[in-house]
Symmetry: C2
Subunit: 220 residues, 2 copies
DNA sequence: TCAAAAGTGTTCATTGTACACCCATGT
DNA sequence: ACATGGGTGTACAATGAACACTTTTGA
């Protein structure tokens, strides 16, 4: 901001928050981490993880701080989505909110934190219970995730380091809410040459066992 | 922001600005509207149009206000790009800036405003003279414009209502900084069935004359 | 008559899509 | 032996990319 065009000589100051959408993948379902709202209105309804931005931190750092505190994970994948600044978006007062989404491997998540913060993993059908404009935020974030996952730019952060092609396909089916053809999916993802096939097999989910893959170093 | 996680009981407040990237297309070149900075440091260097957000307006409205004032156009195409909030992004002090880009038909622009606001249309080679993080903002906005123009989702706002296919192609060449095959381009755009061919011809740019097209009502 | 821009089709390569059966193994 | 999930290939359609000549007309 440099060549100011504003109504007042002394510009207004605002509360600025970050709201974070934490995506996780478990058991063929795409989920988001939410908190139970503690105050009226809509007490008890699920809301996103949020926190106010502080003077001495960048907004990216604020998002990292909130995410670290509430997930216990400090190296997660994080991306800014958009900023929401309508006058009445929060009934408690004017707050401008910058939304981030994060992808975590749900196995890395310490589930004891669920009680500590009174949080829970919401599956898609429940997302419409989110308060205020949080539903819209999640919609927008999901659109972004879908666009990027289509080209396999991101998404691997939702899986363990070693994963089977079945898991990867199942993740994509969860992201797009539609089922995909197994042969076409495998052909496509393998043709990208971004996966390394391991010797090791996953014997947990089938008798035959499925080969583990991991993302090639160059695409980490 | 609801379940606050912050360091202080009394959260900090911030100056929040909108910075606007106004794209225009003239004479086979993609340009942006910029202002000459009036204060040190970097006095005289080009900067984006900006303004502080006020209490009684949404951030979208703030962007509209700035754009209307500085272009004289009130129904332009506008889209939020991203928010920039590093501590030292503006040497004058901490300002969180939400960036928008707008597309205007440069013919609608009142060029007397150039003097009034000491502004100018910068072509691509000059974009790297922009102050601070404004160069990065423009890069990010251009990426978005390119993605959307590829599918002809937007871009027509940069042209007059009636335009020739040559103009449209030349616009795309300017957006992507590369030349395109005439036959393939026309085949593709016409196959989308979003254009109506008019009777009228543009006789300004060739002896033979090129048919005008306009965007079909349904895709306005 | 000629210079300058408008307009037009075909071939080939690549990519996406539909579709069904055998394999390995633990119980 | 059988149930369960793992793994594989082919044919066709759609899309994208390369490529050159004729048309119109004002000067």
């Amino acid at each position: 901001m440099t060549n100011s065009v504003h109504h007042y000589i002394h510009p207004d100051r605002f509360l600025v928050s970050v709201d974070c959408i934490v995506f996780g993948f478990h058991d063929t379902e795409l989920k988001i981490l939410t908190f139970k709202r503690k105050i009226e209105p809509q007490i008890g309804a699920p809301s996103l993880l949020g926190g106010f931005v502080c003077k001495e931190e960048s907004i990216d750092d604020a998002a990292k701080r909130v995410l670290d505190k509430l997930t216990g994970i400090d190296d997660l994948y994080m991306e800014q989505v958009a900023t929401y600044g309508d006058l009445d978006r929060d009934p408690a007062g004017r707050v401008i909110s910058i939304v981030y989404f994060a992808l975590i491997n749900i196995e890395d998540y310490d589930h004891s934190l669920l009680e500590r913060y009174d949080s829970s993993w919401l599956s898609k059908e429940e997302w419409n219970h989110l308060i205020f404009d949080h539903r819209k935020m999640v919609e927008d974030a999901l659109k972004r995730l879908r666009k990027k996952a289509a080209t396999f730019d991101i998404g691997f952060n939702l899986l363990p380091e070693k994963f089977t092609l079945t898991q990867l396909q199942s993740l994509h089916e969860a992201i797009y809410s539609e089922s995909l053809d197994k042969r076409n999916f495998r052909k496509k993802v393998l043709s990208l040459n971004i996966l390394d096939k391991l010797e090791e097999k996953d014997k947990m989910h089938s008798r035959k066992g499925a080969y583990y893959y991991k993302l090639n170093e160059n695409y980490r």
